[in-house]
Amino acid sequence: MIPLIEQIIVNGLLSGFAYIVMALGFTLIFGIMRMVNFAHGELYMIGAFTVLVFYGVLKLDFITSVILAIAVAVIVGALIERLLFRRFVGMELGGMIMSLALSIILQSLALIIFGPAERSVDRPFTGVWAIHHAVIAIDRAVVAMGSLIILAAFYTFLRYTRTGLAMQAVAQDRDTAGLMGVESNSIYLIAFAIGSGLAGVAGALMAPIYTISPYMGHLPLLKAFVVVILGGLGSVPGAVLGGLIIGLVESAFATLFNSTIALIASFVIVLLIIIVRPSGLLGKRQ
């Protein structure tokens, strides 16, 4: 039983770290712009397809391809914010409908360009590490380490840079931040671009592990949604806590029961949180 428990914890943590990167971008965009971005899954998909093109087809090295995937997602995110979403800042319903429409358009474009079949790329990292009774796939460990680096960089950016502090100010009170000289439109652009880049890097890192297809963003979006509702919409520490809890709960239930029960369990937890603490574990009450 102990080897099984160790493996459950390892699997849960590895999944949790993958969820965190996705959820960070989702919660950042909501925290700053008060907008639920349903096209976030498609930015994940764009990251994965960029890796397919540069790493799988053009045979660039994986790290360069990931950097290019982040760049593409950031550029697409910035364009989306400037051309489509800016007018919906603070209008949750309008933004939601716009993001749903955008999600379908991006999926359809990927379908036209890449076709419907599921694609795979070679794995840049193979093999496993055995730690005590547990086995860790190196490629997943790389994703977890990448998540930790991104998390640390993101925390430093928010806490110690002028732009990060300005973002927090806009998230807390846009009008007061404006009176202090913070240009909120620039902050929206930067926040959306960073959020998109986070989705892009998540997709890029997961591309060699899973298959790549136009509809691959559905499930990560759903997970990001569950994680941020659990942790608290707009809360970065909440996204981290939520990601780890969901990862561990899913791992435990999927191993001990099955994946359907695991899915139900994660949503039951979210339901309970919404009933008991509507703002999430670490979210601020409105």
Binding site: P3, L4, Q7, I8, N11, L14, S15, L111, G115, P116, A117, E118, R119, S120, D122, R123, V128, A130, V135, A137, D139, R140, Y210, T211, S213, P214, Y215, M216, H218, L219, E250, S251, A252, F253, A254, T255, L256, N258, S259, T260, A262, L263
Partner: protein, 392 residues
């Protein structure tokens, strides 16, 4: 009032011209008559390799027939047109596609790929007098009360006994875990293979079901590996997903065998798992990769879509061929009851691979409504499928 002679002649000429024009239009209409064949299949998502094969197999056949002048039914010649809609492996989408085919496209003949869609549409097919060919694995797809539903190949209930009996003689170990998708296809495949494995002296140490959209199988595989099976049977798992499961199991240290008694798709498995991880996987095949008939269909698919097909394409090509032969044997495209009754006249016939296809099904399903086909038992060697034997 009497017409003058000239006026009468002009009217006669006009009438002749109109009659000629009407005849020309009628002749044109005859030569341009179209027989539509509908397809409801997952053209996107994990089931797309099968769905695209379901759409393209009949299209290749239609092109061959149309290039030769069309399909002659009675005195009429028809151009065959294939209309395919994506159901994304979802029942609701399949019902919407069916309604579009029947109500908007005026289709009376169709292919339905998935078990869930087939079960959802079974009653509609009978009520609307539509002839449907299904590739559903579920035994419940056919029943004696429904004369309009036919299966286009032998289902697991037909070939699993000989497949698993072959496994008994040819693979080491007795402990098996059965893994299938959590839907009608997977439930049926699990039930059938569980019974056959036990009948052949295997010990089924576990059964696992997963959601089709799932990508992370490590928790499920952790549990499976703890059961210490000698092999993992992937049943009706879609090929790309089967590849993911194989790859993730290898990462967790599982070194033993995988088998897949349904669904085929060895190339997709290799693409998703990698040749090293997929090496040795025992796999049911619809086609022999070396067969010239299959290679002709595969080349036509590749020319159309740019990549090789899932080899199940031969089943959809052959199924559509049997259906068109039944329509010809019935001598009508309008009376679907006559066409349903003519299936027994259309068979036996040779498949595109040269195997004999017969009409049957009564033993397992209580009604002769199935094209009985030959399946192949294969393995993956150096990233390629190799045929080891045939099912009975």
């Amino acid at each position: 009032m009497a017409l003058s002679f000239n006026a009468s002649r002009r009217l006669t000429r006009l009438a002749a011209v109109l009659a000629g024009a009407a005849m020309a239009v009628s002749t044109f209409a005859t030569s341009a008559a179209t027989l539509k064949l509908g397809v409801i299949a997952p053209l996107t998502g994990p089931g797309a390799p099968w769905g695209l094969a379901a759409a393209e197999g009949p299209k290749i056949l239609a092109k061959e027939i149309n290039d030769k002048g069309g399909l002659k039914v009675g005195d009429q010649t028809y151009q065959v047109e294939v209309v395919a809609y994506d159901d994304q492996y979802k029942t609701a989408e399949a019902v919407a596609a069916y309604n579009r085919l029947v109500n908007q496209d005026d289709v009376h003949y169709m292919i339905i790929l998935s078990s869930a869609a087939t079960m959802a549409l079974k009653q509609n097919v009978q009520d609307d007098g539509v002839i449907a060919l299904t590739s559903a694995y579920t035994a419940k797809a056919l029943d004696p009360d429904n004369q309009n539903m036919f299966r286009l190949y032998s289902a697991p209930a037909d070939y699993l006994p000989s497949f698993i009996s072959w496994m008994k003689k040819n693979i080491d170990g007795k402990r098996v875990v059965i893994v299938n998708p959590n839907d009608e296809t997977g439930w049926d495949q699990t039930r059938l293979s569980d019974a056959e494995f036990k009948k052949n002296g295997f010990e089924v140490v576990g059964q696992e079901l997963f959601e089709r959209a799932q990508k992370d199988f490590q928790p499920m595989l952790t549990k499976i590996i703890a059961l210490n099976p000698d092999f993992i049977e992937l049943g009706g798992t879609s090929p790309a997903t089967a590849g993911l499961i194989i790859r993730q199991a290898r990462e967790l240290g599982y070194k033993k065998l995988f088998t897949k008694t349904g669904g085929a798709g060895p190339w997709e498995i290799v693409a998703s798992a990698g040749p090293e991880a997929a090496e040795g996987t025992i796999n049911m095949l619809y086609a022999n990769p070396e067969n010239p008939g299959f290679q002709r269909i595969a080349a036509a698919y590749k020319a159309s879509r740019g990549n090789p097909p899932n080899e199940i394409i031969v089943s959809f090509y052959d199924g559509a061929h049997v259906l068109l032969n039944a329509i010809q044997a019935a001598g009508t495209v309008d009376d679907t009851k006559k066409v349903a009754a003519a299936f027994s006249k259309a068979l036996p016939m040779d498949s595109v691979q040269g195997d004999k296809m017969t009409f049957g099904g009564k033993t397992h399903y209580g009604v002769d409504a199935q094209i009985m086909t030959v399946n192949y038992i294969g393995t993956i060697r150096n990233g390629k499928p190799v045929v080891l034997g045939k099912t009975e």
